[in-house]
Symmetry: C2
Subunit: 434 residues, 2 copies
């Protein structure tokens, strides 16, 4: 018997479906297209080594002392300067990875039962970050250009209470001010919509300029806040993506950014930009969770950023990832020919999203692919609602071009094998029927 009584939110926490699924991929010799790991070839190891030495030499004690919860002043200024709209550094909060930004947003904006709108499919880590606050994620219909505006508007609205007894005011043992049941919250207007407009994880899709304009206008008209997550925006291949949604209406958006994809993820350094109306609440939540993000890594990155380092460094990441995307697209077109496998060519980022022929369940296919030496992520767990079992996510940035070639060939073999067995089973059923 345990003495530990869990909080209700913890009772509902389950081991990540994805983690469980991916356990089969943990064996030597597998080429993994499953991970979301940036290529370590892009990490500026030398620049970091110089930065560490410089920071400790010039201001060691300050770089190792407790620091402000808001973040390192010069880094907040640098973030404000980097962004393509007018940002007051006082609105910038440095976070321990942009994942922490999602945790803070959830703490400050979500009650149990609150509806939060997400894309179809959406970033799984966001669903996980929101989950402890027990909201109700609602999938908004999405197409190749992003969320569908009509469905966004419909889902944003408060829903009319059904005409039944349960709408009567409820007695409560000890009503707390502002308290409401989860059921009541589920009828309120959605608290915000969470969007990854650039090279989205998992689909790789980018929201078009026209769609951004329409989404921004519709959200503003509906009074629907936007939480815009942009970890991949700098990783464009041919042209920069359209302006962020936040640039169009800064008072109505929280913007999350990260140094993980342009410098290195192992420092866990991200930021958010929030309107003055809610910045103080996010700051208080931040202070309570870890006092502040490590000041040493903030100063390290600030030392790396000077002399316009990113302007020289990021183009080399873009070029590498573009070559790898091209290799994957070429391999897919060659190996999957005639197999009714659908995909869009991503214009940047790290991921490519496949839809396999009818009747294929990628969760069931994964162990067979692993047998042939390749791993991917099944797509269904990325959906807030019912998942599309035919989808899967491939990363084109971690493996080498040669590995991509053989991995896609192995994946096509796997699929052919499965399809042949489906066909054989169909023939058998037909014979049995005669």
């Amino acid at each position: 018997m345990t003495i530990w009584k869990l909080a209700a939110r913890a009772e509902k926490m389950n081991p990540s479906v994805l983690r469980e699924i991916l356990k089969v991929t943990e064996r030597p010799g597998i080429i993994s297209l499953a991970g979301g790991l940036p290529s370590p070839r892009t990490f500026p190891v030398e620049a970091f080594a110089e930065a560490c030495a410089e920071v400790l030499r010039d201001d060691g004690p300050a770089a190792l002392q407790y620091a402000a919860s808001e973040g390192y002043g010069p880094l907040r200024q640098a973030v404000a300067d980097m962004l393509p709209w007018t940002v007051d550094p006082a609105q910038v909060l440095i976070t321990t990875g942009s994942q922490q930004g999602l945790d803070l947003v959830a703490k400050v904006l979500l009650d149990p039962g609150s509806r939060v709108l997400v894309e179809t499919p959406t970033y799984l880590g966001a669903l996980q970050a929101f989950s402890p606050m027990e909201p109700t994620p609602v999938a908004v219909a999405s197409d190749g250009e992003g969320v569908v505006v009509e469905d966004l508007v419909a889902q944003a609205r408060a829903t009319a209470a059904p005409d039944s007894a349960e709408t009567a005011p409820l007695p409560d043992a000890a009503p707390r001010p502002g308290s409401a049941s989860a059921a009541q919250r589920a009828r309120e207007a959605a608290r915000f919509i969470y969007l990854v407009p650039n090279f989205q994880n998992p689909t790789g899709r980018t929201m078009s300029e026209a769609r951004r304009a329409a989404v921004s206008a519709a959200a503003a008209a509906a009074g629907l806040p936007i939480v815009e997550d942009n970890p991949y925006g700098e990783l464009w291949f041919d042209q920069a993506p359209p302006l962020p949604l936040t640039a169009r209406n800064p008072e109505g958006c929280i913007y999350l950014g990260s140094f993980s994809k342009v410098l290195a993820p192992g420092l866990r350094l991200g930021f958010l930009v929030a309107p003055k109306a809610i910045y103080p609440k996010l700051l208080q939540a931040k202070q309570a969770v870890d006092l502040h993000t490590p000041i040493f890594t903030q100063r390290m990155v600030m030392a790396v950023l000077k002399d316009d380092f990113l302007a020289r460094h990021v183009p080399s990441i873009r070029a590498l990832y573009k070559r790898q995307r091209d290799a994957m697209v070429t391999a897919l077109r060659r190996e999957m020919a005639g197999l009714d496998v659908r995909f869009e060519v991503p214009a940047g980022g790290m991921f490519l999203w496949l839809r396999l022929p009818e009747g294929i369940d990628t969760v069931a296919l994964l162990p067979e692919a692993v047998e042939r030496g390749v791993a991917f992520v099944p797509g269904a767990p990325f959906y807030a609602g019912e998942g599309d079992a035919r989808t899967l996510r491939l990363s084109f940035v971690t493996a080498s071009v040669a590995q991509i070639d053989s991995a896609i060939a192995a994946l096509a073999d796997t699929l052919r094998g499965r399809l042949a067995r489906h066909a054989a089973a169909r023939v058998e059923r037909e014979l049995a029927g005669t």
Copy 2:
């Protein structure tokens, strides 16, 4: 009009009382005994510089890549090896400062209304970390040796429901499995007791061996989990404190530790040790909040720790802090002579706790002290229940010995001034009464 609807927990977040109070201390020339900052003289800047260079040279890409949510394997092993009871490294979770451990514990163990027992007074940052989960902190009576066992036992119990209509089963619009109102939770057994047994913040007191044995036995008998926070335990002056409570009953305790006071706080590196019964839930919560603690700083610290660095380094911190404690005690005895100021001499740590004469409110005294060039932290905000307005906290580790001397003299002046005005007012009232 704002479109941002806050979560109920965020509506209740208020700017830290302490932050507001301490704003008066933010002026140049003040000697601050208010902060909780370790002396930067103790930061091993050289060792860190070597460690950074080594980590980046030997394994740069891995030190900059995404890493495991549990923490860096060798560091988890080192933590397990450091602790004075048998710890399986699989039970160690590396956290972004031990403050994050408090956030994770609250997420996993506290529901709205859950009672959580704390010392009188207690660490303010813990109250802040727990607060977003909306528990009800309950102050357990405490004396110079720690919490009073009888009160602990009384407060740990589930309280009988009062014989009134509100105990009847309540209708609910949409009962969720496991749901209960905050009022119901307030009658349940307390979820855990939070204790800082060594050189506590803010009082500096240490729980005696006899008290530890009694608290451990009473908590185990009552089925009350213990969350033991030990950031200061290594900072002992004459002898090591008694064994942690967790060592006496590892299955009934979560232990939080930190590298902030033995190496440097600016890396935000802490850890927790949890029983296997709840480790997976804490890990899931950790993964959702920041994926993992920066791997670069984990590897840096691991590189510093080798060759038994702490065994050479920590004694120099102890010696420095002991000299500074002695200086403060000497100055207090000299300057406060005859003023009815009470304090215990702390046997380690960073803080000394004063109780001023009757009638003095340290919140009101602070601006007068700042006028005379010295800052402290008023004690009342550290209490979960009603605060003792006569108390204040002094840090003896940030200021130099010379600064401590003049700061204590200035504080004594301030107090004498205030007492003289009290006396004058009393005389005036008496004259008016005649």
